[in-house]
Point group: C2
Amino acid sequence: MMLDNTWFVEKSYFEKFAMAWKVRKKLHSEQSKFQKIEVLQTESVGKLLLLDGKTMVSEIDEFVYHEVMAHIPYMVARKCEKVLIIGGGDGGVVREFVKHKDIKQIDLVEIDERVIEVSKEFFPECTQGLDDPRVNILAEDGIAFIKSKTNEYDVIIIDSTDPEDFASGLFTSEFYKNVSNALTEEGIMMNQTENPFLDEWGVGKIYKNMRAQFPHVQSFTAPMLIYPGVFWTFGFSSKKYQGTQLNPDKIRHMQSLERSLKWYNTEWHKGAFALSNFHKKKIGL
Amino acid sequence: MMLDNTWFVEKSYFEKFAMAWKVRKKLHSEQSKFQKIEVLQTESVGKLLLLDGKTMVSEIDEFVYHEVMAHIPYMVARKCEKVLIIGGGDGGVVREFVKHKDIKQIDLVEIDERVIEVSKEFFPECTQGLDDPRVNILAEDGIAFIKSKTNEYDVIIIDSTDPEDFASGLFTSEFYKNVSNALTEEGIMMNQTENPFLDEWGVGKIYKNMRAQFPHVQSFTAPMLIYPGVFWTFGFSSKKYQGTQLNPDKIRHMQSLERSLKWYNTEWHKGAFALSNFHKKKIGL
């Protein structure tokens, strides 16, 4: 059976595996200073954002990634007043953080401001938090930005693409050292760490780099239907707390909020850190 | 980007989503009395078994499905001497059950004996347990087989394809009633319950049918890289126990066994039953 050009196909795993979505219409296409930005209207996952031909955000599953990236570190942090997001120009992680009233400042450092503009046009449900007065949008290179920061952020989110091209620097030990320096003594780093079945990018090496800079490094998974192989891993790195040590002061507030969330709840949070043998082996445990 | 005929493509979700594997060679193809049976040598998931053009078993991920289907009910059951598997002609679930010495009898009721023969030839790592003297292989229709059984099995596994054609009867309330009758008073039923993102088969209805016959119905997920959308749900139905109530007498034995398992461990087991809001909503909780 062949797929014709009415499908968008993303090949991965050294071009040996593919996922594909039936396309109704191409809504947008441009070449920014950094990458090709496209938006497709699909038959299966609603609107789909592509960067350089790779799936980034879809209407059907964006809540999974955005909720876990924001609420997991928020619920563990004892103080979460100042947050930094590197990447994440679609605004989804910001949308989740602004739901917490004790957060005072959210810096979004997105290298490509065209991603933000295109997201505002086609994914308004993602970008609705960007107008919050606590949010500062900086069109800068996150790798350079973080070098000058010390003991400043309570939580840092690395909301990046795969470890290639200009994003490859976001997976190095040197970068994680700079993140650690930019964090407070109780700080938490969250990052996306790829699919361990289709281990195209060396997930073990990524975790080794994280462990070189943080005393507590853990992993969990959540499904991203549009990403290669779906079974997606996320990293939780901290100077002080385990990922399952939820802040008791926040539990009551979250119990009320989580009724409106589409994925996250505190029971799921605690369970997600219990890993399969496969997952442990892949990240070097 | 198009995919040519060097790829095997499985379309799902009403032909709007697809996953594809680069094929090196077709190893086998036949039309049995019930279905088309094919084996492909792929570049990404090793050997791949297809039934009527749908992915069933691959070398790269078969351990996930087979380990969770066997060890989760085994670890909850207070007595697990007699086991029934409906479907499962690849032998993978049997392979996992025969690792437990207290199991006295395993009945495998597979409607299509050609699936067993083809699996023996191409997936010997799956079928290695079928020669165990405790295993009875019955080439019969599981739906008819179970009607005559009462209070007989400690655990029943429904290792089926999607709810269509001759497998559709394995997802009805009437069938679950017959399974319940065939189980002892402490019995456990396990089944595969599809992908809730690409909800092609009505996962909510499947769970409703299960709840109509069992007082305890729970769900968990494990990834099946070759199944549509990967994020796979499994059902745990019991007359007496919750899925997280592990049998304390078995913990020590499992601690020694689980070092040789590729997916299952008791910590993962307990965590897997903590569901996301999305999962709860899809199964009607």
